[in-house]
């Protein structure tokens, strides 16, 4: 976790665990929203931060997962949390299929292609592709998740579901980062030619990380669908991909603590700015610029160890 010390991590964990006891439903729900974006941003961080692949279409994978879960739940009555692995799988396989022919494209070309994939998916959802996505209406009536017979309904309940998943994600990704796989992603980001020249199958890792990041985004989509009970294409717009992209870069590409911090800022700040009413997005834009200028490497740059 880079420069974060153990006491800090412990303090943060304790604080997050007891936070709902002191907060009202609105604030808990803001934290839920932050948690979902943190989850998505962590998954994008694998692709964009760790492997350095410009992906500005992450919402497509998120949508794949959310729709898979929603369709399975509303059509086949499969409990929503059971769909978690399957929506991850669908999103991951979809990512592999689309990334396969384009993943070798460089920087900005890959960027526009991922934007394109995101838009194609959104347009397909709007146009009710295969007659299963509900068009612009989306899918509604998704049942509340149940965990060991307990129905998750209140924001406080979702809080523990979502942030529990975030904690698990950080735990697993942290291990991944310190493994052969994680290092291979860093080699890719730093110097693709040297990576290949050291015996790393770069094409394989590019695909693998797209698949893994997308699968995780897909699972986040399931949680989103469970929480909202209704999903529609506008929740997966290009703007969502842009927000995720900003979170990762602002946080410091490749640093999970930074990504977490940036999720709090990018999702939390507009809520704090609510008092500014119609000027709140203006303030938000300004803050993004200033933060980037003050900390050009990101809030918490990807280490020196």
């Amino acid at each position: 976790m880079g420069r974060l010390d153990l006491p800090f991590v412990v303090a943060f964990t304790v604080l997050m665990t007891i936070a709902p006891l002191f907060l009202n439903a609105y604030h808990v729900d803001v934290l839920n929203s932050i948690g979902l974006y943190a989850l998505l941003a962590l998954s994008l961080n694998l692709i964009l931060g760790e492997a350095g692949l410009f992906n500005m279409g992450h919402a497509a994978f998120y949508a794949m997962g959310a729709y898979t879960a929603a369709i399975l739940n509303t059509r086949y009555q499969i409990p929503i949390l059971w769909t978690l692995p399957l929506s991850g799988l669908v999103a991951g396989l979809f990512a592999l299929a689309v990334a396969r022919p384009v993943v070798h494209l460089r920087g900005d070309y890959l960027l526009i292609v991922t934007i394109g994939v995101g838009e194609i998916v959104r347009i397909a959802l709007v146009n009710d592709v295969f007659g299963i996505t509900g068009g612009a209406n989306g899918i509604f009536g998704i049942s509340r998740p149940k965990l060991f017979g307990f129905v998750i309904r209140q924001p406080q309940h979702f809080y523990y579901l979502i942030w529990g998943f975030v904690a698990l994600t950080i735990f697993l990704f942290y291990r991944l980062k310190q493994s052969r796989f994680g290092r291979a992603l860093n080699y890719l980001r730093e110097d693709e030619v040297a990576a290949e020249g050291s015996g790393v199958n770069t094409a394989y890792y590019k695909l693998a990380v797209f698949g893994l990041g997308a699968a995780w985004a897909g699972m986040a989509g399931t949680l989103f669908a469970a929480k909202m009970t209704i999903i529609s294409p506008e929740s997966f717009s290009f703007w969502e991909s842009v927000v995720l992209f900003m979170i990762v870069i602002l946080g410091g590409a490749g640093n999970m603590a930074g990504v977490l911090l940036a999720s709090f800022l990018v999702i939390g700040l507009p809520e704090l700015f609510r008092e500014f009413s119609s000027a709140r997005m203006l303030v938000f834009g300004l803050v993004m610029m200033i933060m980037m200028i003050v900390r050009p490497q990101g809030l918490l740059p990807a280490r020196g160890r």
Binding site: L176, R183, A184, N186, Y187, A194, G197, G199, T202, R305
Partner: protein, 255 residues
Amino acid sequence: MDLLTLHHLTKTFGGLTAVKEVSFTVEKGAVVGLIGPNGAGKTTVFNLITGHYRPNQGDMVFDGVSLSDLRTHRIIALGIARTFQNIRLFQRLTALENVLAGRHYRMHSGILSAMLRLPAQRREEQEATDRALQELEFVGLGSQALTMARNLAYGDQRRLEIARALATEPRLLILDEPAGGMNEQETEALIGLIGRIQQRGVTILLIEHDMRLVMRACEKLVVLEYGGKIAEGPPEQVRHDPKVIEAYLGAEDEP
């Protein structure tokens, strides 16, 4: 016995022929130097061997296997490792992580075993780290293991690249101007290092402009000019070859 054989290798870029009908062999256990004036196509030959470029014609055979259609990481896995003329380290990673890149294809654990941190994965990581530290020690960077690559001195960066290449356990090591940018003492140390690498049973093919190094370290020289081979043989013989002398006249950048 020949470890690597090049047969009539040709590579063109657009209308320019960078390498023309080049053939030579690298004998097992030898140190072979590839020399020639700037722009003679030396680095291109290396890039062909390691699969960064595809030859237009000809073939390369390494220990009985043709390299022509293989991707780079497959070629590395066969036992060829290289360094780059303009140092290509993973700048924002530590020296240790750089060397671990060389261990990569020798390891097997994937996403799941890393996430679950299975015993086999942990053992593998430990072994790889040990081996990487040994290689750092071997090239004299043992104390710099946790330094970020971009913070190393220039000569140290060159040696780190060699350590990374050695970590792949190559049978053939290809060095592209290993003494480039080094001072006299560093070059001297490098000659020693090359000797020790050879003692490990690794065959070496190198490009170098520093003629003292070439003459001392190499058992055989191959001379290129304008993409074609003009001479091949032991250093003493090549040195007196009139074609070589002619090629180096005026183009000579060594005193």
